[in-house]
């Protein structure tokens, strides 16, 4: 078991290493930029995919975001975490692409989910704790991805930043340009909606098809 102190030391070492890399890239060693981005490449792809819901678009957005990060590296301030800054750029890039793509397209479930009133859970299946190795199963990973992709975008964006990318409430609010109260409200709804979507499958047997896989939405 790794102690909190050891994790803190590791984290500080990583941060120092990151600071050195940033300085060297700024001084002209551009080839080191990939080393700076590499620890987060999976996360930025995940963020873009959750927002765009298309692997190809997500990859393009992730690549463009990384290039934008390089071009704007001088604007990066050390008081923020580099990972947070990079993810914010990625989220902005993905949301911008989504806005372009949505000029003639309306998300059919956005309207029904945009009411930010109280959310009432629809499913009360007893969801026992899931063993960690469950995530090794491809169909479960796909079910989780489908569930988050089915959320309305205002909920999805908040959920991606907070629960997938682990930004703080304040960082999420700043990245999305909304209040922290709005972040909390949307996050609650997103979590409850996902629970409603996934509890029947994860609480029961994954051999049976998930209810939302048939197109049934519990809200």
């Amino acid at each position: 078991m790794v102690s909190a102190e050891a994790r803190s030391v590791d984290s500080r070492a990583e941060q120092l290493n990151e600071e050195i890399l940033i300085r060297r890239v700024r001084e002209g060693e551009h080839e080191l930029f990939y080393e700076l981005v590499r620890p987060y490449e999976r996360r930025i792809y995940a963020a873009a995919l959750a927002i765009l819901r298309n692997p190809s678009d997500a990859e393009d957005a992730a690549q463009d975001a990384v290039l934008k990060a390089f071009k704007n590296l001088r604007q990066f301030r050390a008081e923020a975490r580099f990972s947070t800054w990079l993810i914010q750029i990625t989220v902005n890039e993905a949301r911008m692409r989504r806005r372009k793509d949505q000029t003639a397209m309306v998300d059919p479930i956005v309207e029904s989910q945009d009411r930010e009133g109280n959310y009432t859970p629809r499913d009360f299946a007893d969801w026992r704790e899931i063993p960690s190795e469950t995530l090794e199963r491809k169909e479960i990973r796909e079910a989780l991805a489908r569930a988050v992709a089915s959320l309305g975008e205002i909920y999805r964006d908040v959920f991606v930043l907070r629960d997938i990318e682990h930004l703080s409430i304040e960082e999420t609010a700043k990245a999305l340009g909304i209040s922290t109260a709005n972040v909390k409200t949307r996050l609650l709804r997103a979590r409850l909606m996902l629970r409603d979507l996934l509890a029947p499958g994860l609480g029961g047997s994954w051999a049976n098809k998930l209810s939302f896989a048939k197109g049934n939405k519990p809200w």
Partner: protein, 210 residues
């Protein structure tokens, strides 16, 4: 404080993030002891947070890392020189320029020698070569040279001694040792002093004794 199910659902996110106050926490836990539905909601929401918090839930497309790296390699500008690098390059260029200027400066070239007698030898005059000198001119000759005058004052010396006394070789009898090349005139072979115009730059071949 007693709360109902709806209040539990409204607060579940804060509760799981540890942001509910102590009174609210106690009220929720009290409610959960008697409400299986809310237990299911709380446990399910906790599982959602835990599952999506795992980095491996998001599958990355095959080759994504390689394509990202390639995109960076082809899109990022080439290495930019540092200030120090530019300073070193500038200093090197300046030194080359100065060296070239010094090398081509007239201060470091020998002036054209007008007198044929002053021209150095093309090849070394043997130091012990017997030569004769007279008081008529500061020229030394081979014995029997046709242009020796004032033979009454003739003295015999070695070539080395004659040069030490300031004599120069006769261009008639010691022609093979006297040479003036005209590098800037190209075609001219080593010629006699008379071949060289007075304003011609000359390349002087130093002579020395063997």
């Amino acid at each position: 404080m007693v709360i109902d199910c709806e209040e539990v659902w409204r607060e579940v996110s804060n509760y799981l993030e540890g942001e509910s106050g102590p009174a609210m926490c106690a009220a929720i836990e009290d409610h959960l002891r008697g409400c299986k539905r809310c237990v299911a909601v709380v446990n399910g929401t906790r599982n959602i947070i835990r599952l999506y918090g795992e980095e491996r839930i998001m599958e990355v497309r095959a080759g994504y890392s390689e394509r990202l790296r390639h995109r960076l390699e082809t899109s990022l500008p080439l290495r930019r020189g540092t200030l120090f690098g530019w300073m070193v390059a500038f200093a090197a260029a300046a030194m080359l320029l100065v060296a070239f200027e010094i090398g081509s400066s007239s201060a470091f070239t020998r002036p054209y020698l007008r007198s044929a007698h002053a021209q150095p030898a093309a090849r070394a005059i043997p130091a012990d070569l017997a030569v004769v000198v007279t008081d008529e001119a500061k020229i030394f000759h081979l014995p029997g040279c046709g242009v020796i005058h004032h033979r009454s004052t003739e003295r015999t010396l070695t070539a080395a001694e004659a040069e030490r006394e300031g004599y120069v070789p006769c261009v008639r009898c010691l022609r093979k040792y006297v040479n003036v090349t005209r590098s800037s005139y190209g075609t001219g072979a080593a010629g006699l002093p008379g071949d060289v115009p007075s304003n011609a730059p000359a390349q002087v071949l130093l002579f020395s004794h063997q």
